[in-house]
């Protein structure tokens, strides 16, 4: 059986007009790359949710990083795309232009060597990402503490995915009939990690892998339980996702972090949707050492509609800047910055 046959089977069982939302930047990207939207029957509408960690970083968090770097002479260590995400006063690239050091790493562990080799400098490591990267940062901080590193501080922008999905369902701006569960996040939190959400909303939910046949297989499952009105929480990515998730990674994560509120672009402040450092790691916590001074002023209207894109309310092509003044080369908003962003996927692979 090949892709075409899977598509045929979906067509055979799919009758209703349905909206299904994917929550993972990799799914957004792969669905476009393989042209899965075009393969599916017209009554199945795929929406992209807030599953790109860079895209959901709020303006005020970017402003805070810029404030810190300027006022306290800190060098910034972070991950790829974050440097291009605009805040109210520019992006981290603005810091670079002002002569500040902004180092991009692949693994957060690199920050330990950087700090050790430059004992006279002070570094701020920015942790960003969902449940998939938080354990890595947790492990890095445990090592930094063991090695008694004093010139490395930490800012957690880590976010948890189930609360954001709950926020979108609560907003009720769009009808969502089923959810494509994020395969990587679920690898960490397990099928179990979604039980709370599922029990509360009884929304059809299928965790999927990332190959085209894995996505279509998952969509088949999802369409089937929607059509039969038998909502279920299904793991269709058993290759990587266990019932309990990755217990070791979760243990590390909660050794270092606890839940706290977080600010999401497009969704606002969501209680218990972020990870903040617990008391044992306070010595690293930049929010405790140099709390944010300038409270965020409302973003000057720059016409970016990324917030609505992240909630699945509009398509990137509904944004007047899309493809005109906003492109991956000169992004006007975070949804175009990251390759996981919905606007950049639309731009690279063409919208519907």
């Amino acid at each position: 059986m090949d892709i075409r046959e899977l598509v045929e089977r979906i067509k055979k069982i799919s009758k209703k007009e349905i909206n299904i939302m994917e929550f993972c930047g990799t799914h957004t990207h792969e669905i476009f790359r393989y042209g899965i939207r075009q393969l599916l029957p017209e009554n199945i509408h795929l929406l992209s949710g807030p599953g790109c960690p860079v895209c959901v970083t709020s303006e005020e968090d970017i402003d805070y990083i810029i404030e810190l770097a300027q006022n306290y002479d800190l060098s910034i260590i972070t991950f790829g795309d974050l440097v291009n995400v605009p805040g109210n006063n520019g992006s981290l690239n603005y810091l670079r232009a002002k002569g500040k050091e902004v180092i991009v790493v692949y693994s957060p562990l690199e920050s330990i060597n950087i700090a050790k080799q430059n004992p006279n400098k002070k570094y701020l490591l920015i942790g960003i990402g969902f449940e998939t990267t938080a354990p890595n940062l947790a492990f890095t901080l445990i090592k930094a503490k063991e090695e008694n590193i004093k010139n490395l501080y930490f800012l957690s922008l880590h976010k948890l995915t189930p609360p954001a999905m709950k926020a979108i369902l609560d907003m009720g701006e769009i009808k969502i009939d089923g959810i494509i569960g994020p395969g990587h996040v679920s690898t960490i939190i397990g099928r179990k990690g979604w039980e709370g959400l599922f029990n509360e909303y009884k929304i059809p939910f299928v965790i999927m892998g990332f190959k085209p046949e894995e996505i279509l297989y998952g969509i088949y499952h999802l369409v089937k339980i929607i059509e039969e009105e038998k909502p279920a929480l299904i793991n269709a990515y058993e290759k990587s996702v266990k019932e309990e998730g990755n217990k070791s990674a979760l243990e590390y994560m909660y050794k270092v972090f606890k839940k706290g509120s977080a600010s999401w672009r497009g969704l606002g402040i969501i209680e218990d949707s972020g990870l903040i450092l617990n008391e044992t790691f306070e010595e690293f916590d930049i929010r405790k050492i140099y709390p944010q001074k300038t409270k965020s002023i409302k973003l000057k209207n720059n016409y970016c509609r990324c917030g609505e894109v992240l909630r699945g309310v509009i398509k990137p092509t509904d944004c007047p800047l899309f493809g005109k003044s906003c492109t991956p080369e000169s992004p006007k908003g975070p949804c175009m910055v990251s390759s996981e962003g919905t606007c950049s996927a639309y731009y690279l692979y063409g919208g519907e």
């Binding site: 930047g25 960690p53 998939t132 990267t133 492990f139 990587h184 894995e214 990587s240 390759s339």
Partner: protein, 71 residues
């Protein structure tokens, strides 16, 4: 960030690290969250850490599973 990639382990090193094949160059990753990893395993790598060992079953299993749910 959320872009995890499946990579093949080519060498197990000390202190919970391993080398993975990047189609030519190799990359050192931390295996602290998947301590049971062996040479030849495919692991899902996120920002320098393996977060799971992918089980062997191939795509064909998807289809037999599909037959199951169709019953």
């Amino acid at each position: 960030m959320c872009l995890g990639v499946p990579l093949k382990v080519v060498e197990i090193r000390e202190n919970n690290t391993a080398l993975v094949d990047m189609g030519g160059p190799t990359l050192e990753i931390s295996t602290i969250f998947t301590p049971e990893v062996k040479v030849g395993d495919y692991v899902l790598v996120h920002a320098g850490f393996s977060i799971s060992i992918l089980s062997e079953e191939e795509a064909s299993d998807i289809f037999s599973a599909l037959e199951e749910i169709e019953k």
